[in-house]
């Protein structure tokens, strides 16, 4: 429908089609094109197919971006690639119930800690256990509802497990770290959970090459509590397991577990669970 007497001249139309005009000229051309079917018909063959495809792709991107769930958009803003963000986005639905338990656990441990060393011992023992539980919830037959599909897909299972674990461990450590800030009255001992947490998590991951992550986590957690109690009983010192020697041992365990994980990477290819 033409409502005006004038039309865009050929030179301007060509330059507009090529994207080669000033913003003011482009704006007035667009205002006219909206109402003038004749000029739209002349414009169509003038636009290079590659440029048109590029414009559509850009529109497509904007629409896609808006339709992505917010956790994925947040991850992308942190620099996480789009496909990795989607793989990670499945994690919260697997770990929400665990996340709730975690917050209660940390709150409880912090509250119990107060000013006594007994409380601090509880906090330091519980805090490293939380990321382990999270890893077990985020991967494997028991945690991931689409695990069977993940195994049969070409994507590296180990990479998937490490991605999820990284997200879970990162999130947990942030929360626990905030908790230990409240315990700074105890000095740096309040941060002594950090290395044990890494040691327990990496051991769980290494064991996952052989057994289902849930069982790996269960055996690691049981051993951990046993070790803390044994060291305490053997030395007669409450926080003995969290002294400098304990920290060194934890660091050594991290190193060994990481090496074991790398050495066994080819095992993360079949279902490690033992069910039919």
């Amino acid at each position: 429908m033409t409502t005006t007497g004038w039309h865009i001249d050929d030179v301007t139309l060509e330059r507009y089609a090529a994207g080669d005009t000033t913003a003011a000229v482009a704006a007035s051309a667009e205002a006219h094109l909206i109402t003038c079917a004749d000029c739209r018909a002349r414009l169509e063959p003038a636009v290079a197919p590659a440029r048109l495809a590029g414009i559509w792709a850009e529109v497509d991107d904007r629409v896609e971006e808006l339709s992505r769930p917010w956790p994925e958009r947040a991850l992308s803003r942190l620099g996480v690639p789009e496909d990795t963000a989607r793989l990670l986005a499945a994690t919260p639905s697997m770990v929400t119930s665990w996340l709730a338990a975690l917050s209660i656990g940390v709150a409880f441990a912090v509250a119990a800690s107060g000013s006594s060393t007994r409380g601090l011992l509880i906090f330091l023992t519980v805090a490293p256990m939380l990321p382990v539980a999270g890893v077990a919830a985020a991967y494997g037959r028991h945690g991931d509802p689409s695990y069977e599909l993940a195994v049969s897909a070409p994507y590296s299972l180990m990479r998937l497990m490490l991605l999820r674990s990284l997200a879970v461990v990162g999130g947990t450590m942030l929360l626990t770290g905030l908790g230990s800030l409240l315990l700074l009255g105890h000095g740096w001992t309040a941060a002594a959970w950090l290395l044990p947490a890494l040691a327990l998590t990496s051991t769980t991951l290494a064991l996952s090459a052989r057994i289902a992550p849930v069982w790996a986590a269960a055996s690691v957690l049981t051993s951990w509590v046993g070790v803390v109690l044994l060291v305490q009983g053997g030395t007669g010192v409450r926080l003995a397991a969290f002294g400098p020697v304990g920290q060194l041992v934890a660091a050594a365990v991290v190193a060994v577990a990481v090496l074991a994980l790398v050495a066994q990477r080819s095992r993360f290819s079949f279902d490690t669970g033992r069910s039919a």
Binding site: A57, D60, E64, P69, E82, D83, R86, L87, A89, A90, P92, S93, M94, D144, P145, S146, Y147, E148, L149, A150, V151, S152, A153, P154, Y155, L160, S266, S269, F270, D271, R274, S275, A276
Partner: protein, 291 residues
Amino acid sequence: MSTIRVAEVTKSFGRTRALDGVTFDAGQGVTGLLGPNGAGKTTLLRMLATVLAPDGGSLRLLGRNPQDPDDRLEIRRHLGYLPQEPGFHRSFTVFEFIDYVGILKELTDRRSRHDEVRRVIDVVGLADVAGRRIRALSGGMKRRVGVGQALLGDPELVVLDEPTAGLDPEQRLRFRDLVSRVGEGRSVLLSTHQTEDVAALCPHVVVIDRGRVAFDGSPAALTATAAGRVWLEPTRSPAARLAWRTADGDMRNIGDEAPIGATTVSPTLEDAYLLLVGDAVTSGTGRTAAA
């Protein structure tokens, strides 16, 4: 050419022997795997989907060995798999979930992956609910989401574990149409306990019973094993293993041999399957027929 070669494959879980020397070949087109519950169908399909490794015997898929890491990766790149219980991440929509599987299938370019996701959503007829959360879908629709993800990337080998379970008759017919189209130029292996699905869809049928192959051949050959073993009488025959009154009022008897003088009728695939699997149960040998 055989795209699936299974030779003397065994698998045990603790003391239970799930597969006890399974041998068969399958090529392009649709192969139906029939068998009672607990016969070992799912264990076998999980092996063919490279999820599980066999204890003994050999397996070749698309000319490659799934035990070899490089071969296995290559098989996985050309594989579509619908597990018996496909789990879904509850927070995902249909589109997001299939897109998620697409990423696991190494479709890294977002734009072409999204085109492919839209294509399979169209193929399984879920375009109207693509934006809906999976937890809000009916059972039949969830099955179709499962089938849809198995078709991503146009795989050469498609393994479907009980794809018709929980589908109503109309959905089942639609599904047959879909699978026979998928079977053109590809190898599709599907397990079912519906003999009708096999009779309608599969030029090749393998019956598994208690971890062994009880039959391997065409549906016509399977049906032929029941020739002369189905007959009509006014009453339940003492020679019958199974009998039921038909809509015409006659008693349809199925047994080892029709009595002399009885009116035999042409058997169906279902008759043959019942006799075959029933045989295994009574004789205790497992392997009763081979084609």
